[in-house]
Symmetry: C2
Subunit: 321 residues, 2 copies
């Protein structure tokens, strides 16, 4: 009964704005990472280990907005957020606004397992990485030419690209470059292992040209990440402020636990509320029975999953039609 | 139908460890701040304004662990967290690990009202305060001799006083000094104004000798603070990591909204789960109908409230017997 799903962010993803070359890159990378996760789960790996390992791979892939290839803030620096949670006991760890962990999700797991804490933010997170021997990297490791150009343009225009701003359709950014806008690229994974245990994790660079210290839902347990064997494992992506105000992942959990709702009905109600406020994004989730559900109210969401029978990869809403 | 409640933290508060002089100080200060809030609400002030104003006063009172008198981290610096939320529309703002805002709750409100964001952490929060003209102060403003001594002792013993550690019963700390242990002192307020609107806020210095960057539930919307006119306004205090893992304030909200539970039944279920994991603390809450409920599973919680008829102040479990 193993299950797995990953995402690479949700947003305004239109076929017209994604070159076929880049589309192939995204799809093949998601397929490779998903297949690797499935093999590990089949070999008996824990949901938690597989979530961490697959998010490390997503962080290492330059085109997603996490780890290597994270977006740059207003100071042209990376500030990365990540969280991980174990559905067996609600153990969890998170970091926010960290500048040095090569794999932010690994530092989040270290917070969970090697400290008494849940969340470490700012310079303290970088100091903790050094103290615990979690791999760190210089700014140059994280920055890609695409992200540097994206930030320069946003800064020039005085924009914090919180929304899926059309400035990122500018030819300078789309010519030969993937991910023409800012909000696609947060990564996440959810898994159910052979023992029926659930785990979830999420990692992001946040918003292009963001205010230093701005933290979205990714680092917030209950908003961007949640796992409880009783209900579901979930990882969110989207306009983080709306996801915090609606405690999105926990809200789905609570409707299942307290309202007896299915994962589909619960997610629909949560996204109706988020959408009414003006928020867009998506969630990948696996419920306690192994059902995979991946709702989103944006135009697209990079995603791949294994439903116990077959593996699939998708980007657009109607991808599978 | 105005209502108001405040807290000054929950923890191991035993009559034997609190001098009668300090007890008088705590009680009179809470009474003064509560009375001031009630007058403002009677004069038509909004729940949001009253929550902010009363938390500023709690922060300014040296004996509580927030603002002036906040505890010191392992670097003997203050790192303060705060959050505020408006029950009308779930608007919210929060800061974590900030070193300079004179009144952290005011900076949290500025995040809510003057930025597009919800949470700003670390050095970015201090930079934002400067940018927005929110009052800042030097370290010397925040540090009291009691807190400096408390941190020196904790550091000497290599303790991060996450728990209500008995080292803080040491004579050096109790002789003539209030607040002998570390975890009492987070402050919070909830209000219901004449229009029936709810608001909540929380502010803290966190744990004595804490790891730099450690963030507890106070800054986490849904964990330490929540307000929604449909259900309740709530502010938590206690062992923050357990409160995050149980999304305490949102969990009570969700049981009311999705499970049709009363605030008492919902709180009891939430605290049963927190307690089973080993967490202690409390919540002050006002539900949509104006009912005040202030559960805690620790020995005491500094609190004051106005139930529409009379104002009361309490510290111990059996305070009113």
């Amino acid at each position: 009964m193993i299950r797995f799903a990953l995402h690479g962010g949700a947003g305004v993803i239109e076929r017209a704005n994604l070159s076929s070359e880049n589309e192939v890159q995204f799809r093949s990378e998601m397929a490779r990472i998903c297949a690797d996760a499935v093999v590990k789960l089949q070999q008996g790996a824990s949901a938690l280990d597989v979530v961490e390992a697959s998010i490390c791979q997503l962080e290492n892939f330059a085109l997603f907005n996490a780890g290597h290839g994270a977006v740059l803030n207003a100071n042209a620096e990376v500030e990365m957020d990540a969280a991980i949670m174990d559905g067996r006991n609600r153990a969890c760890g998170a970091i926010a606004a960290a500048k040095t962990p090569k794999n932010p999700i690994t530092l989040a797991r270290a917070v969970m397992e090697q400290t008494e804490h849940v969340l470490i933010v700012g310079a303290g997170a970088d100091q903790l990485a050094a103290k615990l021997g979690v791999a760190q990297a210089e700014l140059s490791y994280f920055v890609t030419e695409f992200r540097a150009e994206q930030q320069r343009l946003a800064a020039k225009l005085g924009k914090v690209t919180l929304d899926h701003d059309s400035i990122f359709n500018a030819p300078v950014l789309t010519s030969g470059l993937a991910d023409p806008r800012d909000k696609k690229g947060t990564v996440g994974a959810v898994a159910r292992d052979a023992h029926g245990n659930l785990a979830a994790g999420t990692s992001t660079g946040g918003m292009t040209n963001k205010m230093p210290g701005r933290t979205g839902d990714t680092a917030i347990i209950g908003a961007g990440t949640w796992a409880d064997n009783q209900t579901l494992a979930a990882s969110a992506t989207g306009h983080g402020e709306y996801f915090i105000r609606n405690a999105v992942c926990f809200d789905i959990h609570a409707q299942m636990l307290y309202g007896g709702q299915s994962i589909e009905a619960a997610s629909a109600a949560t996204f109706a509320r988020v959408g009414k406020m003006g928020g867009t994004g998506g969630v990948i989730a696996i419920d306690h029975s192994g059902l995979i559900h991946m709702p989103f109210n944006s135009e697209g969401m990079y995603r791949a999953w294994f439903d116990g029978q077959q593996m699939q990869v998708a980007i657009y809403q109607n991808d599978l039609l």
